[in-house]
């Protein structure tokens, strides 16, 4: 467990909060575009939220002095999170289409 410099505490707390908040912003914007509540051209915005989230996690991992291996694992996890809203949306759509087709009513 590394000794942390207390001057990095604020950065740690803020970046940790931002990881979750940007994560929600990415998933939210992505879904809004998919259901056509936001225009298609906004998609780069959704992905830039993911970019900011990845950056926040990077900053967090540096400030908590993770070893290089853990940092790589975390960045790998962010690739996973890039796909996650796609998977959830895919599942939501499949389940809704299967159950809400006209003949099932």
């Amino acid at each position: 467990m590394p000794y942390l410099d207390s001057s990095s505490f604020l950065t740690i707390f803020v970046s940790a909060a931002l990881v979750i908040l940007f994560g929600a912003a990415y998933a939210g914007t992505f879904t809004m575009i998919k259901i056509e509540r936001l225009r298609d051209y906004m998609m780069p915005l959704a992905y830039s939220f993911w970019g900011l989230q990845t950056y926040s996690l990077w900053v967090l991992s540096v400030h908590i002095k993770s070893d290089p291996f853990t940092q790589k694992v975390l960045m790998g996890a962010m690739v996973g999170y890039l796909i996650f809203p796609h998977i959830v949306y895919f599942l939501v759509q499949r389940t809704h289409d299967a159950c809400e087709s006209p003949e099932s009513h």
Partner: protein, 219 residues
């Protein structure tokens, strides 16, 4: 109840099975890890402690010894080191049975007085009063701290016992500890509990404790 699914993704049965597997595997992993952890956090024996075998939770007889912390480069934090014999209320020859009884009485009293509602034990509990995890080693209770002089005692254990029996006699801060009717026997037992708790290997928690002057004999 279920119509024929158009794909596996919209099949309730598939998701029910997946949920069952995920839960089952997680629960089994947790049980497996718990079996290992319970073995590691069971109290060691007095013989093993005398033989300097590594252990996370020392036996009750740890109260016969000096407890210090030393930096372990391999683990990257301070670890407890059980030193030479040290008198605890004038004795350093508590038998395992006596020490067990004392610790048991102490733990019962800690629960009966609901200490955990204001203090934290191992960091869990209330935040209205200081953490008790390593209170036994705290500089405030050493020769250099205020409590020995205030209570007119010569040792840590006596200072602690005397304080908690009549906390309102020794007000130190605006926030005071109430009188809880702690008897002399109970006070001694609580101090034994605190000394034992201070010897638990808490993976370096609380951070920086060992750096404090007079706290422990850390290098």
């Amino acid at each position: 109840m279920e119509e024929r699914p158009t794909s596996v993704w919209s099949s309730t049965r598939f998701w029910r099975k997946s949920a069952g597997w995920v839960t089952g595997v997680s629960a089994l992993l947790l049980i497996w890890l718990s079996v290992d952890t319970v073995a590691q956090i069971s109290m060691g024996t007095d013989e093993d402690m005398q033989a300097k075998k590594p252990m996370r939770i020392f036996p009750s007889t740890v109260i016969n010894h000096k407890v210090t912390y030393e930096y372990d480069a391999k683990r990257g934090h301070e670890v407890p080191v059980i030193g030479e014999k040290e008198a605890f209320f004038g004795r350093s020859d508590y038998s395992p049975e006596e020490a067990d009884a004392l610790l048991r009485h102490g733990k019962l009293t800690v629960q009966a007085k609901n200490c955990m509602s204001c203090h934290t034990l191992l960091g869990n509990g209330g935040y209205f009063a200081p953490d008790l995890t390593k209170a036994w080693l705290d500089p405030a209770w050493s020769e250099s701290g205020p409590y020995m002089a205030m209570t007119g005692t010569a040792t840590r254990e006596e200072a602690m016992a005397k304080f908690m029996m009549h906390p309102s006699t020794y007000p130190t801060h605006a926030r005071r500890m109430p009188e809880l009717g702690i008897t002399e026997d109970e006070a001694k037992a609580i101090v034994a509990f605190l000394k034992h708790m201070a010897s638990i290997d808490t993976n370096g928690f609380p951070r920086n404790f060992a750096k404090m002057n007079g706290g422990v004999n850390a290098k």
